[in-house]
């Protein structure tokens, strides 16, 4: 039985203990829109609209990849990671808490307009699950796997498919950082041969497979496939709970911009990574949950006004994901807007004199339309 109590690995453990003791009196009183509750499990409706802090060590451990770029810049600037608690995330927590792990994995699809906070919601859920002790399989952006790939190798495992060594190795590295603890404990169930001389015996820790993938970049995609299959097969046993978090899941069923050497277009099934991920997202396993986000921003060949699951996934994707729980994410409510604005003011991010006035706030709300991304971009130059 794995130890759930301290699910995060050693480096973050110290951070954890210090966070729970450090409280409001230590610093100047934070205003209404902050909450010192740093454990997502304890976030309830009364925390809605407030921002909570994630200690930086935890950020590095849980989110080696996956945070939006602008948010990472914000973390660097403010030297702290503050995430807003919003209703879609709270909804998801309720579902996850109440989900029966014996049943097949339920799929949750987060969708919404551009810039409303889908990726941030996903990251919130990932943080929650990692605190709870789940094994998190976080794919930061599936679109990265279907476009701009410099190297495509023909897969040795299956002649029809194509490998992507670079993307696979990057992902393996990040996966290792976030889930080191588990990798030592999960054992392989089959023997895998990587080439003429390398092979992994049965019963070896999964970490070895990952290292093998990192060492031999050629077989990185196959290593990814192995990891995914092992996790899927072992999750129903109940020794750990698996969360599959995919950002930009509509990339798996769209088109790619990659071409084979004979200039014919590559369809997503022909990529090993995509193929394996699709198997993962199917709900034929139990013992966990699948949370996915639709994203128009990185998607290929889709109009920019498309945001519903039907439009972005296409018929194929929709059928594949069919019984899913849709979770819409909307723009900021007035309360959320106020807390975001208050946070910027407090961190002295808004330097303009007029930004401090009521009129300035009304102006910002009007111009950004309460859209989080627009607000962030507007507040930048101010």
């Amino acid at each position: 039985q794995l130890d759930h109590g301290c699910a995060l690995h050693a480096a973050a453990r110290d951070g954890l203990s210090s966070v729970s003791t450090r409280d409001v009196p230590a610093e100047r009183p934070r205003a209404v829109f902050h909450t010192s509750e740093s454990d997502p499990a304890k976030h309830t409706e009364q925390h809605e609209g407030r921002l909570y802090n994630i200690p930086l060590e935890e950020v590095k451990a849980v989110f080696p990849h996956g945070l939006p770029y602008r948010f990472q810049q914000q973390i660097q600037t403010f030297n702290e990671a503050r995430v807003m608690v919003r209703r879609p995330a709270l909804e998801l927590f309720a579902y996850l808490k109440g989900s029966n792990l014996a049943h097949p994995a339920v799929r949750y699809v987060i969708y919404g307009e551009k810039g409303t906070g889908k990726t941030m919601t996903l990251c919130h859920v990932v943080h929650y699950c990692s605190r709870q002790g789940w094994l998190v399989l976080h794919i930061p952006d599936a679109h990265l796997w279907v476009k701009n790939c410099k190297e495509l190798l023909q897969s040795s495992y299956n002649k029809d498919r194509l490998d992507q060594p670079l993307q696979a190795s990057v992902w393996l590295k990040n996966f290792k950082t976030s889930n080191e603890h588990f990798l030592r404990e999960i054992k392989t169930q089959k023997k895998y041969t990587w080439g003429k001389r390398e092979s992994t015996e049965e019963g070896r820790p999964l970490g070895e497979v990952v290292d093998q993938g990192l060492a031999r970049v050629r077989s990185a995609s196959d290593a990814v496939g192995v990891v995914l299959r092992e996790l899927k097969q072992q999750s129903h046993r109940g020794s750990f709970r698996l969360l599959v978090a995919v950002d930009g899941v509509n990339a798996l069923w769209g088109q790619t911009t990659l071409r084979k050497e004979n200039k014919s277009p590559v369809s997503p099934e022909e990529l090993t990574l995509v193929h394996n991920l699709r198997k993962m997202v199917r709900n034929d396993w139990s013992g966990g949950a699948i949370v996915a986000t639709l994203s128009q921003t990185g998607s290929l060949f889709k109009p920019s006004s498309a945001y519903t699951p039907h439009e972005l996934l296409g018929k194929e994707g929709f059928d594949a994901l069919d019984p899913f729980v849709p979770i819409p994410v909307a723009n900021y409510s007035p309360r959320e807007f106020e807390s975001c604005y208050g946070y910027y003011l407090e961190r002295k991010w808004l330097q303009h004199e007029k930004a401090h006035t009521e009129d300035g706030k009304a102006e910002l709300q009007f111009l950004s339309g309460s859209n989080p991304r627009q607000l962030d971009r507007l507040a930048g130059p101010l």
């Binding site: 009129d359 009304a362 009007f366 339309g369």
Partner: protein, 369 residues
């Protein structure tokens, strides 16, 4: 052209009335060498009279042609008849065929100013600007008269009349109008001196006696703002007040309906403004009327717009919105909006391309060889 009949109207040896026609048959080449630049062509009185007779005859002929009564044929009828008989597609109205009374066609000119012996009639002729200086003298005489009258009243211990004439509703003649009146070129300095004299005259307390003279040089200023009627608020089913406005910019036309008791939501052609105007600049244009009045979150707006481009549509909606907001706001604020330029239609449109140039202003690349 070898033989050409010319009417030389300048430099007559004879007096103003006895003007003979001199038929000069010359070649154009010779003519060009002899005659220097003699200013605009001067028309004689007889010539003008003849033109008037011809015009009247022509008017009667035209009336007959059109089947109307020659006696009651007005200028408007003439214009309509000419437009019917000689249709023209030219854009410039001045370039189309027209038939007008000769006094409108030929500009007013000075008659000859000197007599048979060459001696000028007016004593100020040799100043060069005889009518201007005579006007100045006259005005100064009036001033002296008024001052004398004032002294008389003081000696008689009668109260000086102090009725200020209404300066707000009238203005002095402009320089061009004065030039037309005097039939002489003036300089800016001359004009300003004349206006100073007039002001001095008007400032004196007893200037009322010369009121007739002053009125020759003042004009009524037309009513300032054509009083635009501000529509009252209308109320829809739920009792929410709303008002409509229209606006345009370049080729875009927009109508806006502004509702009261709102949250600041704006819908354009059925979509949210964040989706319709992804560019910040356009949204700022829409924000401007609300921000100016300080009513950012208080109104809802639904608008429709068509034509033009992205920025033109934004400008059109802005104008429509400002016009609609007039009904919600006091008159003073309407005046502020007008001065801020929120209620004026932007007259700028795309300039036409000219032949011989690549665009409206850009010329073709200049090659030295």
């Amino acid at each position: 052209a070898v033989g050409r009949v010319l009417r030389l109207c300048c430099r007559w040896g004879a007096g103003p009335r006895a003007q003979t026609l001199r038929l000069i048959c010359t070649t154009t080449a010779v003519q060009r060498k002899n005659v220097g630049a003699s200013g605009p062509e001067k028309y004689t009185e007889a010539f003008i009279k003849k033109q008037i007779e011809e015009f009247n005859l022509g008017k009667r002929h035209l009336a007959n042609m059109m089947g109307e009564d020659p006696e009651t044929f007005t200028q408007e009828d003439i214009d309509r008849a000419i437009a019917y008989l000689f249709p023209s597609g030219l854009f410039d109205k001045q370039a189309r065929p027209m038939m007008k009374h000769p006094t409108e066609v030929f500009p007013e000119q000075r008659k000859i100013q000197w007599g048979e012996d060459g001696r000028p009639f007016h004593f100020l002729f040799y100043t060069g600007k005889q009518s201007y200086y005579s006007l100045m003298h006259e005005t100064y005489e009036k001033i002296l008269d008024v001052q004398k009258h004032q002294d008389q009243l003081i000696t008689q211990d009668l109260p000086l009349q102090k009725e200020k004439r209404n300066l707000a509703g009238s203005r002095w003649l402009t320089k061009i109008e004065l030039e037309e009146m005097l039939l002489e070129k003036l300089s800016d300095d001359d004009y300003s001196r004349f206006i100073q004299l007039l002001e001095k005259l008007v400032a004196l307390p007893c200037a009322d006696i010369e009121e007739n003279y002053i009125q020759k040089f003042s004009k009524e200023v037309p009513v300032q703002l054509q009083k635009v009627v501000i529509e009252p608020l209308q109320y829809d089913e739920q009792g929410v007040a709303f008002s409509t406005g229209e606006g345009k910019r370049k080729t875009a036309r927009a109508t806006a309906v502004v509702y009261d008791n709102g949250t600041g939501k704006i819908t354009v052609n059925g979509t949210d403004i964040l989706h319709y105007f992804p560019v910040l600049q356009d949204r700022e244009q829409l924000l401007f009327p609300f921000q100016f009045l300080g009513r950012i979150g208080k109104h809802d707006m639904v608008c429709t717009v068509s034509g033009g481009g992205r920025a033109a549509q934004a400008g059109a909606i802005r104008l429509a919105c400002a016009k609609a907001l007039r009904s919600f706001v006091t008159e003073k604020e309407v005046e502020f909006m007008r001065q801020a330029g929120l209620l004026t239609v932007d007259p700028r449109v795309k300039e036409r391309k000219k032949p011989g140039q690549e665009g409206p202003r850009r010329k073709f690349t200049w090659k030295k060889r």
